[in-house]
């Protein structure tokens, strides 16, 4: 299980970095090839990076599908929880269980639909061909325009990612039933600021200001926070 978690995290981070790099190299290449530097220019012009856009899209689609599964684990998929949170604990628990089951149901359904789609879109042919079962009645599926990869392989991100996502929903559901805890994502986390400083300073401040009224102090706010951190 831990291995799967790490693999998932490593995989989405890699795709993110890879996509940036691909587009960066493609853009640099496009402009560098326009510079009249002998030899280098000739060499650059022989490289065709027309497939970069497509590769970037494919990487991001894979990242999106697996990242969405990771997101279930981290609780980043937000819903409208205003009403539900107003209910008492028991009723709320029922709603949460329903919502999580619905998530598992939907992602499971998508996985099945997606698998069905890629199966009829060339996977059937590919698998039977490898196994030597093709009797000539099956046709090869389409390929992507630039990279000429089989589309079924590219699209298999949907059933695979959705299956993983379904599994994550079930995992969260089981954990919720057992412990009553839900993963929660903090949208307002910022590196390099210490939020506890604030409540600290404020406490001291209210105590201090009670004594001396509202004295105007020259502030050195930036350094303040730095010092407190050190």
């Amino acid at each position: 299980m831990k291995f799967l978690n790490h693999l998932e995290e490593w995989f989405v981070s890699f795709l993110m970095a890879g996509a940036v790099l691909v587009i960066f190299v493609a853009v640099v290449h496009r402009y560098a090839a326009g510079l009249p530097i002998p030899v280098v220019q000739d060499w650059l012009l022989t490289i065709n990076l027309g497939w970069a856009q497509e590769l970037c899209i494919i990487m991001f689609v894979w990242m999106a599908k697996f990242g969405a599964a990771y997101g279930v684990r981290t609780g980043i998929h937000v819903g409208v929880d205003v009403l539900v949170n107003k209910l008492n604990v028991r009723t709320r628990a029922k709603f949460v269980i329903f919502a999580l089951s619905a998530g598992a149901f939907f992602t499971g359904l998508v996985a099945v639909l997606g698998f069905d789609f890629i199966w009829h879109n060339g996977m059937h042919y590919a698998v039977y061909n490898v196994l030597g079962l093709n009797d000539g009645s099956l046709f090869e599926g389409p390929v992507t325009p630039d990279l000429e990869w089989p589309t079924w392989a590219v699209y298999s991100a949907v059933p695979l990612g959705s299956t993983l996502m379904c599994f994550r929903f079930l995992q969260v559901l089981v954990r919720f039933i057992r412990t009553g805890e839900l993963p929660h994502h903090d949208h307002s986390h910022v590196e390099g600021v210490d939020e506890t400083i604030l409540s600290h300073t404020l406490d001291e401040e209210t105590e201090a200001s009670e004594g001396e009224g509202t004295a105007v102090v020259k502030t050195t706010h930036g350094e303040d926070a730095k010092e407190a951190k050190a």
Partner: protein
């Protein structure tokens, strides 16, 4: 009729608290299996083709760029710069809060993160200087919302995806409204600070201003890289986003040294997490709007509106009302993806400019983040300052009112949003 069914299902599912993306998807599936004869294959195809657009890929890139620069160090530099410029006016620190929020939000791309970053650095200083906590919290909570109007803005990319509008033109169109809004919030702050005689900072010398500007310029250059790149035609919007991510990485690791190379994977992972969530909403919203279009719902709405004799004025009023209501419950990206495909066709029929509509919707999202009962910024500010939501509601009202006035201006004076892109020849 089918419109009523679709929206009832969606509303019911949403209110159970399940993720918005899942409720969109389940609505489509329920409707599909019970009420209509759309072939399943065409929906399955939408599952794949939903996010296969190069424009959409700008979103993960912008998120990554923002996350590299969402750091206390960057916030501190921007605050120092802002204070050196506007600190000597009445309510100096609060004014620099407005300016710093506008700049930091544009760079980081996240409103809640802006409220936390600027708030946790600036608020202690403000309280020490003698500002009441409420005043500071009100300024920061509302100014933090400025980010989605000042480019690069992810919500604008969402609008562009939903309506096929030009991302470059939208970004340009956001500049002037963003500046006006920051100016109006600043005026309100100045007015109230003068009334209650809040402290001013000593006037900074030009040398000081230059020094702080130099420090913060590396981060602020991100906006220039994106806007300049798109406007001059060097990059497409998606390429500009990718370049800004590389630039942000370079600045934060090698120039500012806020981050070590070791921390980079963490940033990558959290950006991937965030973008995957947004892309998942997009996938499902694409299916949803496909069903809507398939049932002719935007067309029906258009003809109904025209039958009733609704003009642009009444229509825009209704749009504002509906969006402000929705802003109570949902976050900006989802609202944009659900409502833009419905509102857009009607607006086109009534002769409203697509860019103008986009900016208007974005300003609505902005207001929605700051108003009770469920403004995200209010919650974040409340967590930061330990003030209750009710108290914060009172605290933000002067600025919230300013925002509503501004919303009215943007709604009925289209030239505010369309002037710059028109002059630049982008639309």
């Amino acid at each position: 009729m089918s419109a009523l069914v679709i929206f009832s299902i969606l509303l019911a599912l949403m209110l159970t608290g399940m993720p918005i993306s899942i409720s969109l998807g389940l609505t489509v599936m329920t409707f599909l299996f019970t009420m209509t004869h759309v072939p399943l294959q065409s929906i399955a195809l939408k599952l794949f083709s939903g996010i296969e657009k190069f424009e959409i890929m700008a979103i993960p890139f912008f998120i990554l760029a923002g996350n590299f620069l969402t750091h206390g160090g960057v916030a501190r530099r921007i605050i120092n710069f802002a204070t050196s410029i506007v600190g000597h006016f009445y309510g100096g620190l609060a004014l620099s809060g407005v300016v710093a929020c506008a700049l930091f939000a544009a760079v980081s791309g996240s409103s809640p993160a802006t409220v936390v970053a600027i708030g946790s650095i600036l608020l202690p200083g403000m309280v020490q200087a003698g500002f009441p906590m409420r005043f500071g919290a009100g300024v920061i909570a509302t100014s933090g919302a400025l980010g989605i109007l000042i480019p690069p803005s992810i919500v604008m990319v969402m609008y562009a995806i939903a309506t096929n509008a030009s991302i470059g033109a939208l970004f340009m169109a956001g500049v002037i409204p963003g500046l006006i809004m920051a100016f109006m919030l600043g005026c309100m702050t100045w007015y109230r600070a003068r009334k209650f005689n809040y402290p001013r900072q000593p006037k900074a010398s030009w040398g000081e201003r230059l020094r702080t500007f130099k420090e913060s310029a590396w981060g602020l250059m991100l906006i220039i890289v994106v806007m300049g790149g798109i406007y001059s035609g060097i990059f497409t919007p998606t390429e500009a986003a990718a370049m800004s991510a590389v630039y942000a990485f370079f600045v934060s690791v090698f120039v500012y040294k806020d981050m070590t190379l070791k921390e980079v994977p963490k940033v990558l992972l959290s950006s991937a997490n965030m973008s995957a969530m947004l892309l998942y909403i997009i996938t499902n919203a694409v299916m949803f709007s496909f069903i809507l279009a398939n049932e002719n719902i935007p067309m029906q709405l258009t003809s109904w509106m025209l039958d009733k004799g609704f003009g642009p004025i009444a229509f825009l009023l209704a749009v504002n009302f509906v969006l402000l209501m929705a802003g109570n419950f949902m976050e900006p990206s989802s609202i944009m993806l659900i409502f833009a495909p419905i509102v857009f066709p009607v607006a086109m029929k009534l002769g409203i400019d697509p860019i103008h509509l986009g900016i208007l919707m974005v300003v609505n999202m902005e207001v929605g983040m700051c108003h009770p009962p469920v403004g995200l910024n209010l919650y974040v500010a409340s967590g930061l300052t330990k003030l209750g939501i009710t108290e914060l509601t009172i605290a933000v009202w002067p600025w919230l009112l300013t925002m509503l006035v501004f919303l009215g201006m943007v709604t009925y004076i289209p030239i505010i949003s369309t002037w710059l892109p028109t002059v630049l020849g982008m639309m």
